[in-house]
């Protein structure tokens, strides 16, 4: 497996960053979470003037063998159809990317469809969908390692274009199932607690999804090694995102983490190298019920809680302007001294 060398964040600037925040013309602490975000951006970039440069979103798409068993509310063909929808700018993800000036990239990690090569889809296809893990491993170990490598390479290229801020998204009918299994194994949580409504199953649908996944789980050798778990239960898009995240952290980019699927990829990346988490901001708490359990494992504090569960990086993109606000108040607000404003007269 390729090695990722992720540096720990330095605490060298902590004091200066906090002082800069505290002398802005506002009551101390009054920007709440925006202050925490500013501090973390400063630490990641090792700068008192953190900047968000050329933000990019990368949506990785892949199909899942398990989808044929009916774990999703939607048919499998929706994966590739939604990629065409991205090309037309008609998906939630593309609407929000346009709103915020975030460059939108789509990677075919393993969709069960051939796209016209003239389309702006980055072709990194590992296969036409994974195998059904109800019966066998979703992919081979070679495919898994290759996926990690390809994901890393995609990020390296984006980074070379001056991007220091990255958002990951996913598209893959059936992929909440992978995420649930990854959480169950790597988070050591009973499968029942990890399975949710996905795109819109009712109670009965959730039960039959659980039964199918449980059957898959019972045939697995129960290894908790993240590569083993990803190989057996991953999707190609999830595996590539794992590699992409590790590389992004190595390159000291800031990662804005979306919902359930993306956080499952981060959980796997975290088990490979826990330092990746230091480079992450957690955009939102998804309405997919087990998401909060993932966040808790890594101590991730979600910024938004507006009951979204759409995927495609939409939670992260809706959150993006708040991250920008954090960078901007650091760089643009006057200090008490600059503005000639009196500070509190009493020791508070």
């Amino acid at each position: 497996m390729i090695e990722f060398k992720i540096d720990s964040l330095s605490d060298n600037l902590n004091k200066e960053l906090q002082e800069k925040i505290d002398t802005k013309t506002k009551p101390i602490g009054s920007l709440g979470m925006l202050e925490k975000i500013a501090l973390q951006l400063g630490k990641i970039q090792n700068s008192l003037n953190p900047e968000i440069n050329n933000p990019n979103v990368v949506v990785f798409a892949g199909d899942h063998g398990i989808a044929d068993d009916g774990v999703s509310f939607y048919p499998k063909s929706v994966s590739y159809q939604m990629l065409y929808n991205y090309m037309e700018g008609g998906a939630a993800s593309t609407v929000f990317a346009k709103q915020h000036g975030i460059k939108f990239n789509v990677v075919d990690a393993g969709v069960d469809h051939d796209f016209d090569p003239s389309l702006p889809i980055i072709n990194r296809k590992l296969a036409y969908g994974t195998k059904n893990y109800r019966f066998e491993a979703a992919m081979t170990k070679e495919q898994c390692l290759e996926g990690i490598k390809r994901g890393a390479k995609v990020i390296e290229e984006i980074h070379q274009n001056g991007c220091n801020f990255i958002i990951f998204g996913e598209k893959g009918i059936g992929n909440t199932s992978s995420a649930s299994l990854i959480l169950s194994l790597l988070g050591d949580i009973s499968l029942e607690e990890c399975v949710g409504r996905g795109t819109g199953l009712d109670k009965e649908g959730v039960k039959s999804k659980f039964d199918l996944l449980n059957e898959g789980l019972s045939k697995y050798n129960q290894s908790k090694d993240p590569i083993d778990v990803l190989t057996h239960f991953g999707g190609f898009e999830i595996v590539m995102i794992v590699g992409a995240m590790l590389k992004a952290a190595e390159l000291k980019m800031t990662l804005l983490i979306d919902g359930f699927i993306i956080t499952s990829a981060l959980l796997a990346a975290f088990k490979i190298n826990p330092k990746v988490k230091d480079y992450c901001l957690f955009a939102h708490k998804s309405n997919e019920q087990a998401h909060i359990k993932m966040l808790n494992i890594m101590g991730g504090e979600p910024i938004l809680d507006i009951s979204m569960r759409l995927g495609e990086a939409t939670g992260a993109m809706v959150c993006f302007p708040l991250i920008k606000s954090a960078a901007q108040f650091m760089n643009e607000m006057a200090s008490f001294q600059d503005a000639g404003v009196s500070e509190a007269t009493e020791e508070i």
Binding site: K24, T25, K26, P27, I28, S30, L31, G32, M33, L34, F73, Y74, P75, S77, V78, Q81, M82, Y84, N85, G89, G90, A91, A92, V95, F96, K98, Q99, H100, G198, T199, G200, N287, I303, L304, D305, I306, S307, M308, R309, L310, G311, V318, P321, L322, S325, Q328, F329, E332, M333, A334, D338, A339, G340, V341, S342, E343, A344, T345, E346, I348
Partner: protein, 349 residues
Amino acid sequence: MNFDIKTPNKELIEQLQHKIDFKTKPIGSLGMLEQLAVKIGCIQNTLSPELKQPTIMVFAGDHGIALDGVSPYPQEVTWQMVANFMAGGAAINVFGRQNGIDIKIVDAGVNYDFDKEWNVIDAKIAHGTKSYLNGAAMTAEQFQLAIKRGADLVEQAHKGGTNIIGFGEMGIANTSSAAVLLHLLADVDLKECVGRGTGWDDEGLKRKYQILNSAVENYKGDSSIENIFAHFGGFEIVMIAGAMLKAAELKMIIMVDGFIITSALLAASKMNPEVLEYCIFTHKSNENGHKHMLAHLNANAILDLGMRLGEGTGAAVAYPIIESAVNFLNQMASFEDAGVSNSDKVVSE
């Protein structure tokens, strides 16, 4: 002054919901954005709403009670911060620039004479209110004038093309007014209403409570909204209430910020409850009493980031999320448009 506020067209709810449900996404998966889209569509009486020239008006005023020691900051910070607004260095300026929101600064009653060249909008009622420890903060005439001036300013913005407006405030000690208004208008225990404001420690908080408790005990007026509001309000708060009522009359979307602004809304809603139909609650402030206000108004805020800065900053940072709600409604493809298979479990009506 009376405001004729019409109820938004709720007959559109079903059509809006239908439009939302056939967008290329799982049903309900945009969560609160979907609720916002429905609300805005109803207010504008259209399936394709638009946000035009978003504006935040920041009203500044001084409070006599500040001299009684309810805030850790000296009163002069009010005018100094107005100067900071005009120089573009305050949090609200930064977020306004970021999100394309026009920031207007209004002198509702600051205890300072601004240089005309600063271009602060002059709506000054007086050089600060009187302390309400032993008497009314303002006269009935001043109160009516403030309501009218707030309404007039919103009318101007509306004429200029604005259809979504937020309000901000600056006024040392104005969390005290907000706390007392919450206590009296929503019948919440005063202890729960008084918070740390700009940053009191436990002892300062206790002193603030005692001062406000005496002020409430000394109140001899009746329980009419006008009398309570004139007695304990600030010029900026009363002006904001007038501004909100006018904004609702003009069918504008009102972005409600934190503790002080919600206190103005609480008062406005006691004058005309229909104003609430036009409100989007942008954030839950970290000031303790705000959650009680939101609960009283049965409001669900978009953000909960532990902010408590004031100036309209909560509304300013939440604005792009409101924009996202409108954008998805207007720009997303339907399953049919995009040729995406819908779930066979979704049945068209």
